[in-house]
Structure formats: structure tokens, C-alpha cells
């Protein structure tokens, strides 16, 4: 639909196009993907744009190949991305685990659709929130961001690249089909004004004990093609990359260091948007598109002098449990609004239930945006 050749500094962009442009702005120079509604516009747009910036675009035979391409490209030094929807993520999960364990920076965009299984391609849902964190086998941490507008599709894609480079790990964008297809005004910054995190690369080995993996402070990456060698494996390995699959202590170290690499930097990673919480008795926890219905409801409720505010995690994983615990000390009730059957609800409860009551309010019909009245009625019920 966007026939005009050049994107303007302030443009009217579909969320998916804003995501693709954000990737270009962040320096993404490799994209591999397989088309799927409602994420296809990202690949479609990048199939043209990637060549304009001297990057590589590959339409792979399936999603498994797409994520494998992305991991390989990242080890070749590229800033790499793929985009799909829930069914595609299901196929990618094995290699996403490989990306986590081999500490491979990359960005994975999930434009969520009606699920489970093939589901409803053009209906919006927040049904893959846990899949992104727990889909691949074993204990691991992931970073995931949830945009709520076209502007955030742009901004958070840049942030996702920065976080993936800083922490040498795959980062998810958890969008949905309404945000992906929605058009809104997007302000694009000048690239010179952006703070982009450039990969910390290993230039040369400093002796036999050089850590190239498993450092809580993030090891320098021995990117291929610069004369360095690295053994990159999904099997349990030591700091030098070599396998040891018989010693539980090596396994213990790998799992803990990889988790701590994210968890010990939660303060740097986690971003929250708080609105009207200063004097609130009731807080509403919501994210992504749902948060826009929540904010509208709060605007209406505030006109009736109801003390209610919004707590919106922009970072879903690592989960902002400490921030929610603090919130639970200040409010009497937290209402959880998400377009699913309560995927993040247990996490909110675990963080808050000692101090305040936690109530779940799904939309009346899953796959639709909350009517503001649904939320306002619930607020009045609990106040």
C-alpha cells in the first residue's frame, strides 16, 4: 500500500512497516523469513529495503531455515532479524534455544494471531506470551518487548537490536495482528541522534583462558571471518566453547551463568510505563494493544474521580516482578487485562498476592479489543 518511494521524517505507517524501518535504522543488514499473515508485510518491505542498504534478504523454504539463517548470519557479523507469527515461532523454537545457548544476538518478531495451532490469521491475540519464554526446552532467560503502537513498533525494534547486541542474546518483539496492520503517525529520528549499541567483538585471543562464552558480564564475541576460531555448539560447553556433556558442574555453570547474564541486568533491561499511579487505589496491569483500551478507560474513570492508574510493562521478559511487588504495596487491587486466558496472571499474582488482591479481566470476546465499558465496570466493582 505504501507506494511512495521515500519514507518521510513523520510518516503514516503500518506497524509492520514501522518495525521494518526500525530494523533498517538500527543497522539490520540481514533478514531471513517465510511469509505468514499477519507478519508478511515486514518481509515484503525488507525484500526491497534490504537491498537499498546493501544488506541481504532471503525468503527461506520454511521458518526453521529462516531462524537458522539468522543465527548463522549473526555469527558472520550481521545484525540479523526474522519475523513471523505464532505458528512460525513454534517451528523456530529449537533453534531459538540454540541462539540463547550459543549467545547469538538476533531479533525475532512475533506478530501474534488467533491461536492455538493455525488459528485465525487476521485476528489479534496475546496468546504467545509464555511461548516466547518457555517454548524451547530447559531453563533459560529471554528478552521480550511488547509494543502498543506503530511508533513503538519502530522504537522497540531499535531497542531490541540494542539489547540483543549488548547481552548477546535473541530478543523478541511481541506484537499482534492489529498493531502490525494498524497505521499511525510515526516520527522517525535522524540516525545520527540514535544511540546504537555496537557489538563488542573479540579482536584477538589474549591467551588460553580467554572467555568467549558464559560470562555474566557478556563475553566478547569471536565473530567469524576475522581469523579467530570458535566452537559454537548447543551442547553443554565451557567458557572456551568446547563441549563437556558428562560433568554436571559444567551444566550447572552454563545454565546459571546464562540466566544471570539477563537476570543480574534486569534494572538495565526492564522498562515500565506508569500512568496515574501516584494516588491510585486500583492499578491495571496490561501490555501491548490491550493497554490502549485500559488507558482510555482510566481517562474516563479519572473524570469520575476514581483513583485508578495504569502499569504497563514494555519489557515482558525478564518479568518485572520487583516493580509489581512495589506496586502491590501501594494499591489495594491490581486488575490484570490481557487478550488471552491469563498467561501473565500467575506471574503478577506471585509478585503481588502477599500485599494486594489480584483480579483477572479478559476481554468479553477473546481476539477483540476491550470495550472501555468492560474495564470501567470492573474498576467500579472493585473500588
Amino acid at each position: 500500500m505504501e507506494k511512495n518511494k521515500k519514507i518521510r521524517n513523520a510518516d503514516f505507517l503500518q506497524g509492520n512497516i514501522a518495525c521494518a524501518e526500525g530494523a533498517i535504522m538500527a543497522g539490520c543488514n540481514f533478514f531471513a523469513g517465510y511469509p505468514i499473515t499477519p507478519a508478511s508485510e515486514i518481509a515484503h518491505h525488507l525484500s526491497k529495503r534490504m537491498f537499498e542498504v546493501g544488506g541481504t534478504f532471503i525468503q527461506t523454504e520454511d521458518e526453521i531455515a529462516a531462524i537458522a539463517n539468522v543465527l548463522g548470519a549473526s555469527w558472520g557479523g550481521a545484525k540479523a532479524m526474522t519475523a513471523t507469527s505464532g505458528p512460525g515461532i513454534s517451528l523456530m523454537l529449537e533453534n531459538i534455544g540454540l541462539g540463547v545457548v550459543t549467545e547469538t544476538p538476533c531479533v525475532i518478531v512475533n506478530v501474534q494471531r488467533g491461536s492455538p495451532s493455525t488459528g485465525s490469521p487476521s485476528i489479534h491475540m496475546q496468546g504467545d506470551m509464555l511461548q516466547s519464554k518457555f517454548g524451547s526446552q530447559g531453563d533459560y532467560q529471554i528478552i521480550a518487548l511488547a509494543p502498543s503502537s506503530s511508533q513503538e513498533m519502530f522504537d522497540l525494534t531499535i531497542e531490541a537490536f540494542n539489547l540483543s547486541e549488548q547481552f548477546r542474546t535473541p530478543v523478541f518483539i511481541l506484537s499482534d495482528s492489529l498493531i502490525g496492520h494498524m497505521r499511525e503517525r510515526v516520527e522517525l529520528p535522524n540516525k545520527e541522534e540514535l544511540a546504537l549499541f555496537e557489538r563488542r567483538r573479540l579482536k584477538s585471543y589474549q591467551g588460553i583462558n580467554q572467555k568467549i562464552f558464559l560470562d555474566e558480564k557478556v563475553a566478547l564475541m569471536p565473530v567469524f571471518g576475522n581469523g579467530l576460531k570458535a566452537n559454537v555448539t548447543g551442547s553443554t560447553h565451557k567458557e572456551d566453547g568446547f563441549r563437556n556433556v558428562s560433568d554436571p558442574k559444567i551444566l550447572d555453570n552454563e545454565i546459571k551463568v546464562l540466566s544471570n547474564k539477563i537476570l543480574k541486568h534486569k534494572k538495565e533491561i526492564i522498562r515500565i510505563e506508569e500512568v496515574n499511579l501516584e494516588d491510585a487505589d486500583v492499578a491495571i496491569f496490561s501490555y501491548g494493544l490491550s493497554s490502549r483500551a485500559v488507558l482510555k478507560s482510566i481517562e474516563v474513570a479519572r473524570k469520575e474521580r476514581i483513583k485508578v492508574g495504569s502499569f504497563r510493562p514494555i519489557t515482558i521478559w525478564p518479568f518485572p516482578d520487583e516493580e509489581i511487588k512495589k506496586l502491590s504495596n501501594r494499591v489495594k487491587t491490581i486488575i490484570v487485562c490481557e487478550n488471552n486466558l491469563g498467561q501473565l496472571l500467575p506471574f503478577v499474582k506471585a509478585a503481588a498476592c502477599e500485599n494486594c488482591q489480584v483480579i483477572f479481566l479478559p476481554p468479553k470476546t477473546l481476539g477483540t479489543l476491550y470495550h472501555t465499558m468492560e474495564i470501567i465496570e470492573k474498576i467500579k466493582e472493585v473500588v
Partner: protein, 180 residues
């Protein structure tokens, strides 16, 4: 100006989505306003139900969906029966005179209609510009955005080889909207 919510409904192939994107682009890029456009459609490209919504506002738009439109544009009979119940008193209804039979509508609804499809065929020999005539009619009638902004948005979004035709059709609609 507070928020104006517009819903356009018709069939696939009538240019419903493109029309809404042109309105949103005119508002957000050329009049420095906020705009949100969303759409729903069946999986069939032509002939399926299509509904596109656009909100324009001077302020940040929180809620992106139009539950009760201020302006409802209907270009197919089926769409009329699907959407008319969402139109409240004193709001605006715009229909294609030859494609939609309007009945049982409250007297307090401001109803305007034009022969967008017939004019497109008779005068421009191309029914694909019916949506531009409708768009011009909408702007001529409601003055929600300037004609110049709409023209710039059309230039951005319509293929170069049919741009002139589309702009002519747009201004044909504006005149129709101003005079009717």
C-alpha cells in the same frame, strides 16, 4: 477539535482501505494531526466484506477502534445492514445512491448520497475511481480536512500512471459534495 471516527464499509475491490489510508495520511503527514487506521476483511480479496476505520484528532489517540462512528460511509447493501445499528443520532451517513437502498433510518441522522459508482463509469470510464469520487464527496460535505492535503496524500499513494485520473475523480466528488 475532538476525535472524529470514520468507518468505511463495502466490498473487497472498492478501494475502501485505500480511501481510509489516504484520509489518515492527509491528516497525519500533511496536517500534523494524529490518525489511526485499522481494517478488517475476509480472506477473499474481491467481493468479500471490507471495513476500514480511521480516527483523526488534534490529540494523541488512545483507543484505536471506532465502536460508534461519527461518519459512516457505506458502499454496499450488505454493509449497510451490518453497520447501520452503530450509527447514533446526529451522526453522518454517506452512501452510494445506486448501490445502497437506505431504509428505516432515524430522521436525526444526516444522510447524504451520490452516484459515485455510476459517475466513475459514465464520466471516467473506470469504476475503480468511484472511491476517489466518494472521498471528494466526503471532504466536500464535511470539510474535516483540506482538499490540498487529500490531494498530496493521493499523489503519495496512487500509482503514477493513474494518478491524474484519480485526482480528477477526487475533485469531481468535491464539487458534488459542495453542491448537493
Amino acid at each position: 477539535m475532538s476525535e472524529i471516527g470514520i468507518r468505511l464499509a463495502g466490498l473487497g475491490g472498492q478501494g475502501v482501505v485505500l480511501s481510509s489510508v489516504i484520509i489518515g495520511r492527509a491528516a497525519s503527514v500533511f496536517e500534523n494531526m494524529e490518525a489511526v487506521q485499522t481494517q478488517t476483511y475476509g480472506s477473499d480479496m474481491r467481493g468479500g466484506d471490507v471495513c476500514s476505520e480511521i480516527i483523526i484528532s488534534e490529540q494523541k489517540i488512545l483507543y484505536p477502534i471506532v465502536n460508534y462512528p461519527d461518519i459512516l460511509v457505506v458502499l454496499a447493501q450488505k454493509a449497510f445492514s451490518q453497520h447501520i445499528q452503530d450509527l447514533k443520532e446526529n451522526r453522518i451517513l454517506i452512501t452510494d445512491k445506486n448501490l445502497v437502498e437506505v431504509n428505516n433510518v432515524s430522521k436525526n441522522i444526516k444522510h447524504f448520497c451520490g452516484s459515485f459508482n455510476n459517475i466513475a463509469i459514465d464520466k471516467f470510464k473506470d469504476n475503480r475511481v468511484a472511491n476517489m469520487i466518494m472521498l471528494g464527496f466526503l471532504i466536500g460535505k464535511t470539510k474535516i480536512l483540506s482538499q490540498a492535503s487529500l490531494e498530496k496524500a493521493i499523489v503519495d499513494l496512487v500509482p503514477a500512471n493513474v494518478m491524474e485520473l484519480n485526482i480528477q475523480a477526487f475533485y469531481e466528488g468535491v464539487i458534488l459534495g459542495n453542491n448537493l
